[in-house]
């Protein structure tokens, strides 16, 4: 950036102008300092969405996961959730996952940050980066606060996304309808319909991942049954995973033999591992 300042010519007869000149010089120096000031020491605003470093993490990691797991028969996935604010627990969680050598990738079920500030996103990202395996993260209700959803969009990507690992499709959905005051298409049925049809030759089974499950105060409960109906339309639907409740859950939510699993929060020092084989899947809760 080129900054041009007007500096008045010094006229000796008027000492005031000399002073003005000096003040202008001082102002020039000050303004330049402020403009070129390195971003790290100056905090502009907690909700400034000035994201430095890695962005669009989900898209980058998804393409790597898809190529790594393309021909795998057995998948071992760690589901973590609600790490907001509990950074040391989150670190221990990551260390525990790293201790295992057989995990293929990690899915974070949302609530990466507590108040959606840009700093919190960057702190969380630095912990994610300690993982030896790839990860994707969903958006949780806390991640919406302030400009948090905008920060999520830049750092991680779209709120709804999907990928295929092995021959299993993972459909990750934003279900935080309360954050939009129920005015947005959340859950997005158009997206789900599109996912039903797209790449149908590449997958035979489906896993649905979301932050808040039907029945929670974040979900648009008016469409719970419609959502369940749509979920059942997916080829070979295996199970659904959610976070948000800060509890380990395993229920048939709609009494139709489809299992809905809830992943506990980092503070309770628990996470879930799903082992998907050709025959079915195995579910375990890990205490770390």
């Amino acid at each position: 950036m080129k900054i041009v300042f007007y500096v008045p010519l010094p006229v000796k007869r008027f000492p005031q102008i000399m002073i003005k000149d000096r003040i202008t010089k001082l102002l020039c120096l000050f303004t330049t300092l402020m403009l070129i000031s390195c971003d790290d020491v100056f905090d502009v605003h907690p909700y400034d969405v000035n994201i430095k470093g890695e962005t669009h993490i989900n898209a980058t990691n998804i393409s790597k996961i898809e190529s790594l797991c393309k021909d795998k028969d057995t998948l071992k996935i760690a589901f973590i959730s609600d790490t907001h604010g509990w950074y040391s627990d989150f670190k221990d969680e990551v260390a525990d996952i790293n201790r295992r050598s057989d995990i293929d990738f990690v899915i974070h079920c949302g609530d990466i940050t507590d108040t959606g500030t840009t700093k919190e996103y960057e702190w969380a990202r630095s912990i994610f980066n300690k993982l030896n395996v790839l990860h994707v993260a969903l958006i949780g209700n806390h991640d919406f606060l302030g400009t948090g959803d905008q920060a999520y969009h830049v750092m991680f990507g779209d709120n709804d996304f999907s990928f295929i690992a092995g021959r299993v499709k993972f459909v990750c959905l934003n279900t935080n309808a309360t954050e939009y005051d129920y005015l947005a298409s959340v859950p997005n049925f158009d997206f789900m319909e599109n996912e039903l049809k797209s790449d149908s030759a590449d997958f035979d089974r489906t896993v649905i991942v979301m932050h808040a499950r039907p029945g929670s105060e974040q979900f648009n409960n008016n469409v719970s049954k419609a959502f369940n109906y749509f979920v059942h339309l997916f080829p070979g639907i295996m199970f659904c995973v959610s976070g948000h409740e800060h509890a380990t859950q395993a229920d048939e939510l709609f009494n139709d033999k489809l299992m809905w699993y809830g992943v506990d929060c980092a503070q309770h020092r628990k996470y879930d591992i799903f082992t998907i084989t050709k025959e079915g899947y195995k579910y375990e809760v890990v205490n770390f």
Binding site: P15, Q16, M18, I19, K20, I23, L26, L27, F30, L33, M34, S37, V41, F42, D43, V44, H45, P46, Y47, D48, V49, N50, I51, T55, G85, W86, Y87, S88, D89, K91, D114, T115, G116, T117, K119, E120, W123, L145, G146, T147, Q150, A151, V154, T178, D181, Y182, E217
Partner: protein, 241 residues
Amino acid sequence: MKSLIFSAILLFISIHSFAGEFTAEIDSLSLKDSLSYFGSSDKPNVYKENTCESSYDRRAHYFRKYWAALIPTQVVVQNAGNMGIFSIGFGWEYGKHRQWETHLLWGYIPKYDSTRGKLTMTLKENYIPWSIYLGKGWAFEPFETGLYINTVYGHEFWRSQPQRYPDKYYNALSTKFRVNVFWGQRVTKVIPNNRRMFVKSITAFYEISTCDLYIRSMFTDDDVKLKDILGLSLGLKFQLL
């Protein structure tokens, strides 16, 4: 709008809590001075000629004196400090040693990766316990501390949780208002009388600040260190009156 009213009330309280010291310190005008200063001295004035001060004169004098106290005495420019990339505003000082200052600042947050740039407003209270005169018009203020409340304009932010959430869902959280604490140091150069144009003195300062959200995350988890939550801010204060 609510935030504007809120800030105005705060400002009013802060000024009036010091009104006693304020008026005694700043306004050294006597009633007589006030009359000759504000009244037109060229024209014959019946009240001036009459040496007896009427109660009207006294009231007019105090009316002017109190309103004059609201004239800002300083202009402040500052960067960062969780109130935008750049903030500008005005302020007042008061107290026996003029050790208290109130600043009202407006700041700008650039767009960066968000959907748009945003405006902020800050009400800032400074406390400067010591000022060391170094000679030749230079003074050093080794310690400055205070609090400021920042509000950011935009539909994304709310003062307290909206109706759509269950009761106490985001307990004691406001995404709109931030309470910041800071401490810093300043150096002042007094401009000699014969060289003064509009500015009496210039103060350059630096401040180290953090906000309530960051302090909360530091107390929630030991992994967040003090150095992670502190930010630097540089500024200039121009003393006009």
